[in-house]
């Protein structure tokens, strides 16, 4: 108790926070593209689960964690394609479709796991990512260990933040995406193929959420466990809103969730007097706060959740 507030404690806390925020960051960046184009993607949880599973399958059959991650992205895209078909083309309610995707993913992963590996009581393990220390940077005092000896997927996640920002605000694609999400009729008038842009954005969200799932199964572990995402996809949906639909905000939101979770784990193990139920509630309480808009007024894309038909 007396030694919990020292430098080593903070280094460990930050390191854990980083690991806990990465899957949320991946999925939330994906969710951002989808929502910016006007499609609410509640299915992130299911897509992450599929990605976690497909990553392990890919790594199992190819022996390469990189190909595993690729398979995870492709599986995410495939599930997102189904979601895009239902929501953008057929124009069924996006929330209902998202829930359907989540339920479908639980069943599909379980079914295919059984078909491929049978019924086991010990986990099937595969090749996975190991931490890469960046030369020079990783020897920096304190921050070096936290920031620069992580797995490759962690660097990719954080690199995606400026990349997403650039795409969204500095390219004509980004302008199209934002226009489609704000005012699809106007976008259509100037010749932007509204539904094609939306479909592509949903596919991108699938690829990123799939990678987020693979981070859990291949970046943190080397195995797939039923329901291993455990609600992180829903936290990602909240992070998109909390982060006000822009990459920088989403980075901060993901880190806040990561720190909250890492802190509650540490406070609990440090044995301080706060009831552990209260600590466990902490990240979810933040989610509720985010969704109620207490943290500043959040302005959603105007056409969010509305299908576009000519």
């Amino acid at each position: 108790m007396n030694d919990i507030m020292n430098a080593a404690f903070f280094v460990a806390l930050l390191s854990a926070a980083l690991r806990l925020s990465v899957p949320i960051l991946f999925a939330a960046l994906g969710g951002m593209f989808s929502e910016r184009s006007g499609v609410v993607n509640i299915g992130l949880e299911g897509i992450m689960l599929t990605g976690a599973f497909a990553g392990v399958v890919g790594s199992y059959f190819t022996g390469s964690q990189w190909l595993g991650a690729l398979v995870a992205m492709l599986s995410g895209i495939a599930l997102a394609a189904l979601f895009a078909l239902i929501t953008v083309k057929v124009q069924i309610n996006q929330i209902v479709s998202g829930i359907a995707i989540n339920l479908l993913a639980v069943g599909l992963t379980s079914f295919f796991f059984r078909a491929l590996f049978g019924i086991t009581t010990t986990p099937i393990t595969v090749n996975a990512f190991s931490p890469v220390s960046l030369p020079g940077l990783s020897t920096l005092p304190f921050v070096g260990e936290v920031l620069f000896s992580q797995t490759a997927l962690v660097y990719i996640a954080f690199l995606l933040v400026p990349v997403s920002w650039f795409i969204l605000y500095k390219t004509s694609w980004g302008l199209s995406i934002r226009t489609v999400g704000e005012h699809p009729t106007a976008a259509d008038t100037v010749g932007i193929p509204v539904n094609r842009v939306r479909t592509l954005c949903v596919l991108a969200s699938g690829a990123l959420a799939g990678l987020g799932g693979a981070f859990l199964s291949l970046g943190q572990f080397n195995m797939f466990v039923d329901n291993m995402i455990s609600g992180r996809g829903f936290i990602a949906v909240a992070a998109v809103i909390f982060g006000r639909w822009n990459p920088k905000g989403i980075l901060i939101a993901s880190l806040i969730f990561g720190v909250a979770d890492a802190l509650q784990i540490r406070l609990q193990t440090a044995g301080i007097g706060i009831p552990y139920q209260f600590l466990l509630m902490f990240p979810y309480l933040l989610t509720v706060v985010a969704l109620t808009g207490i943290v500043g007024k959040t302005v959603a894309p105007k056409a969010l959740g509305k299908a576009y038909a000519k």
């Binding site: 460990a12 379980s110 086991t120």
Partner: protein, 341 residues
Amino acid sequence: MVNKKWLVWLMVAVLVMASLAGCAPKAEPAAPAEPAPGAETPAEEAPKIVLILPGPINDQGWNATAYEGLKLVEKDLGVTMEYVESVQQADFESTFRDYGEKGYDLVFAHGTQFFDAAKAIGPQYPDTFFMVINSEEGVEPNVGGIGIREWEGGYVAGTLAAMNTTSKQMGAIGSFPFPVIEGTLDAFEAAAMAVDPAIKVTKTYVNSWDDIQKGKETALAMIEAGSDLVFCSANQVGLGSIDAAKTKGVKAIGYISPQNEVAPGTVISSITYNTPGLFKVAVQDFLDGKLTATGKSLGWADGVLDVQWADGVTDEMKATIEKTIQDLKDAKIENPYVPGD
């Protein structure tokens, strides 16, 4: 509105796929086995037994062990059982009613969470016996429970752990603070302190059975705070804590399933539950007409707990463990758990 037909067909397709994929409960009769020699099950009155599971049989944990139990009963007693997977809380009562209506002789429900439903539905179907796994109580005349005295497992794990710590600090992770899990962690602590009163055990709950990342991070936090051994009673979450121990180069104790090969060198040995054995005992009692509407609990003395030794356990440690197990068998050790503590 152009695509209304599309919509209907798509929803139907999604629903069908979802249920095919095992989302919805479905009954599958297990492959019929050749009756084992000597088994008293004449074909014309083969007992109708069904196993109701809260999750899929390939969860690599709790439900998978029940499926193994089904196979064991089939192999050793020549009795085939049906099973239903992934039955949700809201469907407990209707599922019980369904099998009661169909005149099943014995209905297994895999987990204490089924107890309230069994209590409510049981009296309506007096010809069916409802057996709730891990329930510590029964309801006359036809609802019974059978379970493992998990604290006995935790106690042996604690004894072994205490002989393998050098920092005198260990972490114990539980899923939910249910009495049975709290009891396991308390027994772990009590056993460790019986070996060396200076040992400190940090106890934490993760509120999950399958959040493997939370298990890993919790164990990492414990190790960073000075623990050099972790113990976890929370199904899949345990795999996360073992992974953390491996990363940090400290030790872990495998629990529930044989986990030595998950991380050789890290897992110093596993204390395992022989859950399939529960089914064999219950079905044998059923065949002998000896089922009682009480909560029956089994421990080391009944062979439902076991040790999977790993290399590196000294003969001295083994001797101490064997003695602890013998003491538990002889009921010389009292359950240290105090409810509400």
